[in-house]
């Protein structure tokens, strides 16, 4: 799952740093993630994991780090799908 998140960040996060080597706890906003880019990241994650973020997860905190994204997705993706990722 973490690798797929990193790939989405690399493709849509428009970060000035390498998403592949970023610390899982690094603050993505401090790394240059804009609110504009975070919406694209959200859409790409929904597509990649075939999930929909519910209203209560649509906030800045959900996307503040790779770890936070993984936490949010873990609650949405069924356990079967996680193991196949």
């Amino acid at each position: 799952m973490e690798q797929m998140i990193r790939q989405v960040l690399a493709d849509y996060g428009r970060l000035p740093v390498d998403a592949m080597t970023l610390d899982v706890d690094a603050d993505l906003y401090r790394c240059g993630l804009t609110s504009h880019a975070s919406v694209n990241v959200m859409l790409a994650l929904e597509d990649a994991f075939d999930v929909e973020f519910p209203q209560e997860l649509l906030r800045k905190k959900t996307f503040e780090s790779i770890f936070a994204i993984e936490q949010a997705l873990s609650g949405l993706v069924t356990s079967d799908r996680v193991s196949s990722v």
Binding site: Y29, G32, T34, V39, Q55
Partner: protein, 384 residues
């Protein structure tokens, strides 16, 4: 001051005595409405939004919004200066919870009724307030900031300016902080004039800003959070009330004109009366929505996380776009009702200043930018 009916009476009296008499001169000479701001200061209204436990008036945002609209009926420039000041106060009291910033609020904003201004845009950035090129240089307990600001409304009359900048020299453009730049640790060098179609009294010159002060002046919350939770919603709500005040003035003028026509021929409804009825059908929903969004903000202070939600951001953006478009429509309708007496500058029904001020509404933070921002949020926002 909570729910204080006396507040609107006080502001109404103050507006008639100080704000209205100066309005035409403020507009003609593009000068700062100093007597209006002085009157607001001596009534302790500059600190009205500061919580009571810090010595302020403890007003709700909807109370402040009502004051802004009342001022806007008489002088849109005064209303805008007051609104912009309150936006900065809101940012400070909601995001400056350190001992240093709390002391500043208590001693300067309340004790000194300090006037606060804002420097969010930057030369070379193109109007995107969520992006900075200048950076805070901090070290040894102090900071330095140099910023080229294309506009700082009433900058030369302000006691302090809240400026955005990158967190440090290595930060990306979107990683911003908000910095309190206080006189006398602040210098402003004008780089452009302010000679505009409307809102001429806000004196929104461009400045080269230099600040050198203790690093306690840097607000600890990231600007992204301050913007989302306070600056954007409060700006949209208070600006909408400036425009509501302009609309109020236009509607009052149109009503007075129709009444005068009716008195000339009792028994025959003047032709313009039906246009006045149409005008009310545009104006009243505008007023209702502006007041409703202000109430939503106040209600969200207790408990739920409405302020960080996409739904509330879309609501505020939509208010800005609707209100700024409707105010031009409303003044235009009032002009058609009043006819040539509205078009004349020397009549009691003159609407020229209102029309010029109204046109600023769609431009200050351009509606295209706001709509693009809402469009993006609508891609992911779920219906409530």
């Amino acid at each position: 001051m909570r729910g204080d009916a006396g507040l609107s009476d006080r502001v109404h009296a103050l507006a008639l005595e100080y704000v209205a008499p100066a309005a035409d001169e403020v507009d003609r000479d593009a000068r700062f409405p100093k007597e209006s701001i002085e009157a607001l200061r001596s009534e302790r209204l500059l600190s009205a939004l500061v919580p009571a436990n810090l010595g302020g008036g403890g007003a709700r945002l909807s109370d402040i919004a009502a004051v802004v609209a009342e001022l806007g009926r008489h002088c849109a420039s005064t209303a805008m200066v007051f609104a912009m000041h309150q936006i900065q106060v809101a940012c400070l009291v909601r995001h400056g919870d350190t001992a240093f910033l709390t002391d500043y609020v208590r001693e300067e904003v309340v004790g000194g009724e300090a006037l606060l201004a804002s420097a969010t845009t930057e030369v070379g950035i193109g109007g995107d307030v969520r992006s900075s090129s200048c950076a805070v240089e901090a070290g040894g307990g102090r900071f330095r900031l140099h910023k080229q600001a294309p506009v700082i409304s009433y900058g030369q009359f302000a006691d302090a300016i809240l400026a955005t900048a990158r967190r440090c020299e290595t930060s990306p453009p979107s990683d911003q902080v908000l910095v309190l730049c206080r006189r006398p640790h602040l210098s402003l060098e004008p780089i452009s004039d302010w000679d505009t179609f409307g809102f001429r009294g806000t004196c929104s010159l461009g400045f080269e800003l230099d600040a050198d002060d203790v690093d306690d002046c840097i607000l600890s919350d990231p600007y992204a959070d301050i913007s989302e939770r306070t600056m954007l919603p409060v700006s949209h709500i208070l600006w909408a009330h400036v425009w509501l005040g302009i609309a109020d003035a236009a509607v009052s003028t149109a009503r007075a004109h129709v009444r005068r026509e009716a008195r000339k021929k009792p028994g025959a409804t003047p032709p313009a009366a039906v246009h006045l009825a149409e005008l009310m059908a545009v104006y009243l929903p505008f007023r209702a929505v502006a007041e409703q969004v202000a109430r939503h903000f106040d209600e969200s202070e207790h408990g739920t996380d409405t302020l960080g939600s996409l739904a509330f951001a879309i609501e505020c953006n939509s208010l800005k776009v609707a209100a700024s478009t409707l105010v031009v429509d409303i003044v235009g309708r009032a002009m058609r009702i009043c006819g040539m007496t509205g078009y004349r500058e020397d009549s009691e029904f003159a609407l020229g200043r209102l029309l010029r001020d109204a046109h600023g509404a769609t431009l200050m933070v351009n509606n295209d930018r706001i709509l693009a921002n809402s469009a993006q949020m609508l891609l992911v926002a779920k219906e409530a």
